[in-house]
Amino acid sequence: MANTRRTTKKGAATQTNEAMFAGSMPVASDLTPFQILAPDGKPVREDLIPDLDLVEDMYRGMSRLRHLDDKFMSLFKSQRLGNYAQFGGQEASQFGSAMALNRQTDYIAPMYRNTAAMITHGWSIQNAIMYWRGHPEGWRLPDTANILPVIISIPGQVLHAAGAALGLKAQGTGGVVMTYVGEGGTSQGDVHAAINFASARKDPCVFIIENNGWAISVPRQVQSGVDYLVRRSVGYDIPGYLVDGNDILAVNTVSKKAVQDARDGKGPSLIEHMTYRIRPHTTGDDPKAYRDENAEPEFWRKERDPIARVKKFLTLEKRWNDDREVAMVAEIETEFQAALEAADQVASPRPEALLEYVWQNDVWQIKEQREILKRRVAQMEGA
């Protein structure tokens, strides 16, 4: 009875195509990344250029972060840092978005590449150095900053963000949560679960996809058949924004809007920053094994640098010159050296740190293991 296959009476049902079904989803429309400044530093949206003091702050902030990223890479090379996930090239994406938050009320749920966003939201450089050294005191997140733990397992943080948003709303704090995920990470089911959860409840959460083109060696196209991941916003009926992630003015403008909407009870937004990982995946990675370092990355390094773009703009606006640059770099370097020295002066990790903070009060196994640890430490010191 089943599987009967016949020619159709009126001949049509075998020649159907999508267009003829009333219920067919419309073909994807064009989408262009939102931009305020062109790569040559010239405004494409004069009407959206903010106060130049703010633009200068953005330039200084990004320069400081890039300097830090450079320094971290050389610390790794000289074995004064562990394996580190660079954010270089993504300064506009992280600084421009995180600066849209209110540090007192708002939270960040970061992933491993969000050192820039975390520092923007109140992590200290010294803390960051020690974290990437694998020093327990570096793992101690500051009480003064609303930064949830750095997540390595992709994309745990997006669910924490949705949950923190639920919690903040329940407490009526007016706080907003911002979280980041790589374009590779969007293939994980949890990203869907989180966005759907938060949007069904209209909780105050901003989801940012940092599309830097690569997931280690896997290019964007392997992750999904769709051109822009932000198209998924339609599936949750939340605002979605495609943004030139190397244009900090565009990034910041959209982030502010999304944060304000979240604060106003309008629920989450999904934002895709089109940016680029100009550096290796981590300091342990060698991209030559999978991409031509003189092709695409070179273009982004030279032609699409988010910092150079703002510098060009400020120079055109006569707000910037070489003297200022020299002074700024000196200032940044001084700050960094001070942080590095402070980090260097922190005592080596205490072995006891291994057994702290597992349960609030130690179960007996932890107590027994602490005795074992003491013996081992004594042995090592004896040896």
Binding site: Y107, A164, Q171, A194, A200, Y357, W359
Partner: protein, 339 residues
């Protein structure tokens, strides 16, 4: 039977395990505004087993609510909510569905405090019905305690009676560690397990085993539904003049080995009984610890009675061959005595 003494006399009411759990949540929703409860069907319906019955109506939709169907979402959002100051008590529909959200337990619930060096903790409770004995579909009868016991940083509570259930659930909600709370499907409405339970607030501390029956010949170490199975086996054995001590662990994390060791010192013979399948079930750790801590007291090897090493049987009429029954325990008691 209770080792707990209430500080002051309170009113009591006869309750099933299920009613005691509902009551615990009612007490905590009233006591602490940070407590929220969510999950699949917990709001309007009151849960597929009706454990949250009435709570939404009484405490409001912002305190007790349904959420999208996603265990990863339920657990993962509870982590974030707990971090920012809430006390989420979330329900999974069955223990067998915990795995859909297990990455959040393994990677985050258990590690938030360690990972942030105390800056963030995750004071949340994950509740679910577990275990067999009823004819249910596949994945409705799992006993996944191993996956949690091996994962540091979590507490694991498995009450065996209404009094403990209420006191332990209140303690779990107030605990600053994440607690996974196992609720026996078999006992939920079991009339023979009903008992008098104080109506107000009280706690039963997590980590203290209970001697459910005293005896000097054989120690039965067990948990949850199996406490009743062991008590029945002990009853039978008593008729043959064998005195079994039955230890209800109450929680497998923390694991109260002091109570176990004290009993073994007396009996020298142990049978561990649980519903989870044998290999690397909780009994493995308990047996390994007993042989280590009581080597010279043991007069026979520690025996284990557990479900077979298969998925929990979905074959209704065969279930009782695999899941421990009183006469399986009786056989082990005989064996441990004749070893």
């Amino acid at each position: 039977m209770m080792t707990q003494v209430l500080e002051k006399a309170t009113e009591t009411k006869t309750m099933t395990l299920l009613q005691a759990l509902t009551d615990a949540m009612d007490v905590m929703l009233a006591k602490d505004p940070k407590v929220v409860m969510y999950g699949e069907d917990v709001g309007r319906l009151g849960g597929v087993y009706r454990v949250t019955t009435g709570l939404q109506g009484k405490h409001g939709e912002h305190r007790v609510f349904d959420c999208p169907l996603t265990e990863a979402g339920i657990i993962g959002t509870a982590v974030g909510a707990a971090a920012v100051g809430m006390r989420p008590v979330v329900e999974l529909q069955f223990g067998g569905f915990m795995m859909q959200g297990f990455d959040q337990i393994f990677s985050h619930v258990s590690r938030f405090r360690y990972r942030s060096r105390g800056r963030w903790s995750t004071p949340l409770v994950i509740r679910f019905p577990f275990g067999g004995g009823k004819s249910l579909l596949e994945q409705h009868a799992d006993s996944p305690e191993t996956y949690l016991m091996h994962t540091p940083g979590i507490k694991v509570a498995i009450p065996s009676n209404p009094y403990d259930a209420k006191g332990m659930l209140i303690a779990a909600i107030e605990d600053n560690d994440p607690v996974v709370f196992f609720e026996s499907i078999y006992l939920y409405r079991e009339p023979s397990a009903r008992m008098d339970v104080p109506t107000g607030y009280y706690t039963v501390p997590l980590g203290q085993a209970r001697v459910a029956r005293e005896g000097s010949d054989v120690t039965l170490v067990t948990i949850g539904t199996m406490v009743h199975t062991c008590l029945a086996a002990a009853e039978q054995a008593a008729k043959a003049g064998i005195q079994c001590e039955v230890i209800d662990l109450r929680t497998v994390v923390p694991l109260d080995m002091e109570t176990v060791v004290a009993s073994v010192a007396k009996t020298g013979r142990v049978v561990v009984v649980h519903e989870a399948n044998l290999t690397l079930g909780p009994g493995a750790e308990i047996a390994a610890l007993i042989q280590e801590k009581c080597f010279y007291e043991l007069e026979a090897p520690v025996l284990r009675v557990a479900s077979f090493d298969t998925m929990p049987s979905p074959f209704n009429s065969l279930n009782h061959y695999s899941r421990p029954e009183a006469h399986h325990v009786a056989e082990a008691i005989k064996n441990v005595l004749s070893a």
